[in-house]
Symmetry: C2
Subunit: 208 residues, 2 copies
DNA sequence: GACCCCTTGTTATTAATTTGACATATTTTT
DNA sequence: AAAAATATGTCAAATTAATAACAAGGGGTC
C-alpha cells in the first residue's frame, strides 16, 4: 500500500466518495457507474475514474464499480483497517462535542480520555470518558498507545500541547485552535480553522 | 466592490492572510514585505503578491505593505464591514461550542438565538442566548433580519432545516452536518465536514 | 452464441494555478 | 544628491489539475 505522488486534491475527495458509497451501501445499491456517481456527488465522471485509478483498477468495463468493494477499498486507502486510540485535549464545549460524536468511534477512532487544565473540569466523567489533568498527559499517552490527539484548546494553549506531543509517539494532530502549529516533520496535522471557513462564507454572501 | 473571476483557491487563502496580519497588528508590526510574509505564512512571495493584486495594488514598491491598511482591505473583501445577525440550529454540544466562541462575534457575526426541537433544551438560556423552539423559526428569522444560519443538527435533520431556510431571506448557511445540502442557487453554503477532515488525517498518518 | 451497448482505464487536450523573472518605483544609505 | 538596495506589480514559463476522447473489455439481450 505505497501510493505516491497522489495529489492533495485527490486525497481530499476520497472521504466524500467514502461517505456517498456508505449511503448507497445502506440503501442496498450494489453497483454504480462513474456516470451515475457523478450525478449525485457532483464531480465529473472523468474525474471520478481518474481519482479512483490512482489507487488501482477497482471497476469493471461494461459494469461499473461494485459499491461494497469500492467502499472497502477506499476505506483501506484512508487507513480504516484498524482502530486508533485518540485523546482530546481541551474538554470545553468543543471537546465535549467531539467526544459525543459516535461516528468517529464507529470508524475506528477510539476515544480513551480527555485532558484539561481547568480544575473545575478535571476529574469529571463525561459519557464514560474521564477528564484527566494535563500533568498525566505524557504518561497516559505512552501507556495507552495513543496515536492521534484532537487539540480543542484555545489559541494560546495549542502550541504548548503540540510541543508536548512532539516528545511522545503521537504522530497525528487534529487541530481546532486558530493557529498553525509548528511540529516535527514526522507529525501530520489537519487543521479545522473555523474562522477561515466562516470568513469564506462571508465573502460569498457579500458577493452574491 | 465587484471582483469577479477570482478563483476559489485565492479566496480560501484570504482568511489566513487576515489572521496573520491581525497577529502582526497586535505585535505592533507596521510594515511587511511579501518576502517576510512568505516566511511566516508559508506561501511563496510571488503567490502572495499575485493573490493581493487580484483586488488592487495595496503595496508600495521599495516599501512593502502597510500592515494595518492591508488588514483592513482584506477585511473589506471578506465582508467584514458590518454586522451580520446569525442563529444556530441545533443546540447540542457543537451548537453550544459555537455559541461560546466570542471571536465570531468580535468579527461581526452576532448570535441572536439558538433553535432546537428537543423539549429538554428549548427554553434554556445559554450564555444569554435563548434556545427557541423550531416552531418559531420562520417568524424569528424574518423579524430579526437573520442572514446566516449555522446548522449544527445531526445528519438527518440538516436538509429539513435547509428547506425551511430556502423559504426565508437567509442567504448563507454554515453547515456542520455530514451531508451535502440541496439549496437554491442564491444561497451559499460553507461546509465543515469533520469526518472528511479526520479521514484525511488518517490517510496521512498511515502514509507517514 | 452473436451482437450491441455500456463503462472502464488511459491517453490527449485544455484549463487553472503556481512559480519565476524583471522593469519600475520607492526607500535607505553614503 | 547620487547610488545602492529593496520590493511591488505584472508578464511569461512551468507545473499541476481537470476535462474530453477513445480503444478495448465485459455484460446484457435476443
Amino acid at each position: 500500500m505505497k501510493e505516491k505522488n497522489i495529489s492533495l486534491a485527490v486525497i481530499r475527495r476520497l472521504p466524500k466518495y467514502h461517505r456517498y458509497l456508505k449511503e448507497m451501501l445502506d440503501n442496498d445499491i450494489k453497483r454504480i457507474s462513474s456516470k451515475e456517481l457523478s450525478k449525485v456527488i457532483g464531480f465529473t465522471a472523468s474525474k471520478i475514474r481518474q481519482d479512483l485509478n490512482n489507487f488501482g483498477g477497482f471497476g469493471q468495463q461494461g459494469y461499473g464499480y461494485n459499491v461494497e468493494d469500492l467502499y472497502e477499498e477506499i476505506g483501506k486507502i484512508l487507513g480504516l483497517t484498524r482502530d486508533y486510540n485518540v485523546i482530546i485535549v481541551g474538554a470545553g464545549n468543543l471537546g465535549q462535542a467531539l467526544a459525543n460524536y459516535s461516528s468517529f468511534g464507529r470508524l475506528g477512532f477510539k476515544l480513551k480520555a480527555m485532558f484539561d487544565i481547568n480544575p473545575k473540569i478535571v476529574g469529571l466523567t463525561i459519557k464514560e470518558i474521564q477528564v484527566l489533568d494535563m500533568d498525566t498527559f505524557e504518561s497516559f499517552v505512552n501507556e495507552n498507545n495513543v496515536e492521534i490527539v484532537y487539540i480543542c484548546t484555545n489559541r494560546d494553549g495549542a502550541q504548548d500541547v503540540a510541543d508536548r506531543i512532539a516528545k511522545t509517539n503521537v504522530k497525528a494532530i487534529w487541530n481546532f485552535a486558530p493557529v498553525d502549529l509548528k511540529v516535527p516533520e514526522d507529525v501530520v496535522v489537519e487543521n479545522v480553522h473555523l474562522i477561515d471557513n466562516l470568513l469564506t462564507l462571508s465573502y460569498f454572501l457579500k458577493e452574491n
